[in-house]
Symmetry: C2
DNA sequence: TATAATAACAGTAACGATTATCGTTATTGT
DNA sequence: ACAATAACGATAATCGTTACTGTTATTATA
């Protein structure tokens, strides 16, 4: 079951990679509709699942829905407790966290997720 | 709108604190039904939201549902990618993460969530 | 370059965890 | 006691996501 090319998948990935706002599926859908008027939501969800499963993109659960990041390099995020948006935080990568924690653990550690919670710069000014 | 006592909330919290398996709302519900036969799911969800909002318990999104932890002391977790359960990981607390990351950030950082992904000890043996 | 196999699609129905509503009950301060 | 209201049980509604179905597009092979 190797992957076949599809114009839809390419445009979904292009759209996601060209923006830095970590959209939800719905926000992506609204934007993609302009260039792909009969894109199906099912197609979007299926491709977002494919792309995050194979590590091309990242998926974060924020509030009550998922947000996606086209930048899969190691970096960190803040979820704003006011607007529920997801932001990049600029900081040097923490190394060895997985191995540090794996030392005393009898299972396997594959990866970790470090997310900060707080108030984003925008909300911090306007509140 | 101060909080009034309720027997239901007390028993929900007692049940959650007496176990270490980080149950979902549904798993809690099944167990609580034995001592509170006409507990309503809505009541359970409402109280889990109250208790996690005020910091008494912790809430984690795992797979497609939330899991709860009655131990709100700083400690870390692993989500098993095989069984989707949530486990404690024994490790000394990382301090200063919030302040480290807040240095160059113009918003506010209140807290962080560090979750590891991998295979739990049980699944690691049986696969 | 036809053809066969099948991944992917659009459209739509279904699912399931969670939330909201509403009339009733229990707690709490006066 | 009593009044105010938080919390309850029951149930309907919400909404993000997934599954289904018949059709279309891609890709490897003849």
């Amino acid at each position: 079951m190797s992957m076949k090319y599809s114009r839809q998948r390419e445009m979904i990935l292009n759209n996601l990679c060209s923006r830095t706002d970590h959209p939800t599926a719905d926000e992506l859908y609204i934007d993609l509709k302009e260039s792909l008027p009969n894109l199906s939501l099912g197609t979007l969800y299926r491709n977002l699942a494919l792309l995050s499963d194979n590590g091309t993109i990242l998926k974060f659960h924020c509030g009550n829905s998922d947000r996606f990041d086209g930048n899969n390099n190691l970096h960190y995020h803040l979820i704003c407790e006011n607007c529920n948006r997801l932001y990049d935080i600029d900081h040097a990568p923490l190394t060895n966290l997985n191995t540090m924690f794996a030392e005393d653990y009898k299972g396997k550690i594959n990866s970790h997720l470090l997310v900060f919670y707080g108030i984003c710069e925008d909300c911090n000014c306007s509140v």
